[in-house]
Symmetry: C2
Subunit: 274 residues, 2 copies
C-alpha cells in the first residue's frame, strides 16, 4: 500500500483548501476530523468522498476504514507529518475525511417542526457546533443559521458538533425574513433570547412548536430579527453573571422547551415527572 | 507618564510567569485580562495588585484605571507589542491585571449551601470557566474543583468565567472524600451526571440542597466519586447525540436544580410559572 509522503500531492492540496470558507462553498465539501465524527457520518449513510489516515490510525481504526471503503470512500494512507499539517485540530487523531456538504437551504425545513434552533449573526464556530450538538440531544428537528452567521461546516464547528451535523436538518445562510416567514407559516413560535428581556422564560409558552432564536455573542439580536419575534425571553438568573455564554444559554432554552413538550406529549415511553 | 517598552522589565517578567500553574501557586496570584473581568473584580472589592494597560486601552478605559488606582492597584502603562506578548488571549483588549488568588480550600464552603457545582477531573479550562459562569448565573453558592481538575485561575478558565470567579465561593484542589463528607454533613445531596445513568434527571430530587457533580470530559466520573454519590442521573435526550458537551450538560443540570428550587421556594419575587 502506498503512503502519501508529499504535502504537494494534488489530492492533499485540494483538501487543505477546505479549511477556508470560499473553498468549502466552491467545492461543496468539508473536512471531518476524528473517528467519532466519521463514524457518525457512516452511521447516517452520509457519503464520504475521501478518507485520509496515517498508517498508525489505519491500524487502530481498521473497521472504520473498511466500512468507509465499503461505503464508496477513497481511502488513502498519508504520512503522519503530512496529515498533521493538514488537520485543523490541535490534537488530530490521524483521521481526516472529505465529505460532501450536508447543509441545505430553506427547502430542507421540515413540514411540521416541533423544535428548531436559529443562529443569527453567531460568529464563534465552537458556539455553533455546541448548539448543534445540544439541539440534536434535545430532539430538535432542525438548526438554521442565517446569512452572516458562521459556517456550520467550518472545522471548529464540525468538531464541536461531534457528529450531530449528520443527525438533523441543518439549514445554512438563509435570509432571516424568509426563515421567519417559513417558521411562522408552519405554526412555529419565534422565541428570542435576550438577557435583558422583561419576560422570564418561565412565562413563555414553549409547549407548542418553538424556534429558539439566538443573536450575536457581543451585540445580541438585531433589530430586524426582534421585529419578527413572537416572544423575547430571558433566563431568570439569581447571580451576578452578566449573561450566560451563548452556547450554555441555548442549551438551557432548548432543554426547557423540550422538557415542557415532553411533559405535554410524552415521547418514547420516557418517564414523566413534573 | 512612563511607558514600559522592554519585555525584560522585572515586573513584566514576574507577570509573564503567571501563565503557568506552578508560578500561580507559588505567587498566589493570577492574571485577569480585559475590562469586563477587571470591572467584576473591582465591583466585588477584590484586591487588584497591578493593572497593566496599553496607552490606547488606558485612554479608552480611563474610569477603570482611576477606580483601580483608587482601590490601591499599581497602574502601569505598557507598550502594545510588549503587553500583547504577555496576554494569553487571542484578541487581548490591552488590559491585564495581576490579582491575588481568590480560590480557597474546604473551609470556604458555605454553612448551608443550596446549590453547588463540583468538577472532578475536569481538564478543559474553557469548560471550568463556563461552568463557573453558569453556576453564578443560576445562583449557586459555591463551585468546587477536586484535586486533579484544571486550575480555575488559569487564563482560559478566567476568561471563560467572565468575572464570575469573584461572585461566589470557589474551592480548588480539594480532596474528593473531604468534600463529599463536608457536603453530606451539610445535608447536600450529591447528584452525579452520567449520560449512561439509568435514572433521568426528571426523577431526581433536586428540590433540596444539591451538588451537581461532573466528571472528566473523556472518562466521566471516577469509581471513587461514584461510590459516594446519592444519585446518578442522565439528561433525557431524544436525539442521537452521544452526550452533551460537559459545560452544556452542567448548565442544564444547574438550571434544572435552580428551577425546581425556585418553584419550591420563590426568590426575589420572581414570577413562578410551572
Amino acid at each position: 500500500v502506498n503512503v502519501i509522503t508529499s504535502s504537494r500531492n494534488p489530492t492533499l492540496l485540494a483538501v487543505r483548501k477546505l479549511g477556508r470558507a470560499p473553498a468549502r462553498a466552491g467545492q461543496r465539501r468539508f473536512l471531518l476530523e476524528g473517528a467519532q465524527g466519521i463514524r457518525a457520518a457512516l452511521d447516517a449513510s452520509a457519503p464520504v468522498a475521501t478518507l485520509l489516515a496515517t498508517p498508525a490510525a489505519a491500524a487502530r481504526h481498521r473497521r472504520l476504514l473498511d466500512d468507509a471503503g465499503a461505503a464508496g470512500a477513497e481511502v488513502l494512507l498519508v504520512a503522519e507529518r503530512v496529515l498533521h499539517g493538514l488537520a485543523q485540530t490541535v490534537t488530530p487523531q490521524g483521521l481526516v475525511a472529505v465529505v460532501p456538504s450536508v447543509v441545505r437551504g430553506l427547502d430542507a425545513l421540515p413540514a411540521a417542526p416541533r423544535l428548531v434552533a436559529v443562529l443569527t449573526e453567531v460568529r464563534d464556530p465552537g458556539n455553533a457546533g455546541t448548539v448543534l450538538r445540544a439541539a440534536d440531544a434535545f430532539g430538535a428537528d432542525a438548526v438554521a443559521t442565517t446569512a452572516g452567521s458562521v459556517d456550520p461546516e467550518s472545522p471548529k464547528a464540525v468538531r464541536a458538533s461531534a457528529g450531530s451535523l449528520f443527525h438533523l436538518a441543518v439549514l445554512a445562510g438563509v435570509a432571516w425574513p424568509d426563515l421567519a416567514g417559513a417558521l411562522a407559516g408552519r405554526g412555529v413560535a419565534l422565541v428570542g433570547a435576550d438577557p435583558h428581556a422583561r419576560d422570564s422564560v418561565d412565562a413563555a409558552p414553549l409547549e407548542g412548536p418553538t424556534a429558539v432564536v439566538l443573536g450575536n455573542e457581543a451585540h445580541g439580536l438585531g433589530a430586524d430579527v426582534r421585529r419578527d419575534l413572537d416572544h423575547l425571553v430571558r433566563l431568570p438568573t439569581r447571580g451576578r453573571a452578566e449573561s450566560l455564554n451563548l452556547a450554555a444559554a441555548a442549551a438551557v432554552l432548548l432543554w426547557e422547551a423540550a422538557r415542557r413538550q415532553r411533559v405535554a406529549v410524552p415521547l418514547r415511553g420516557e418517564a414523566v415527572v413534573g
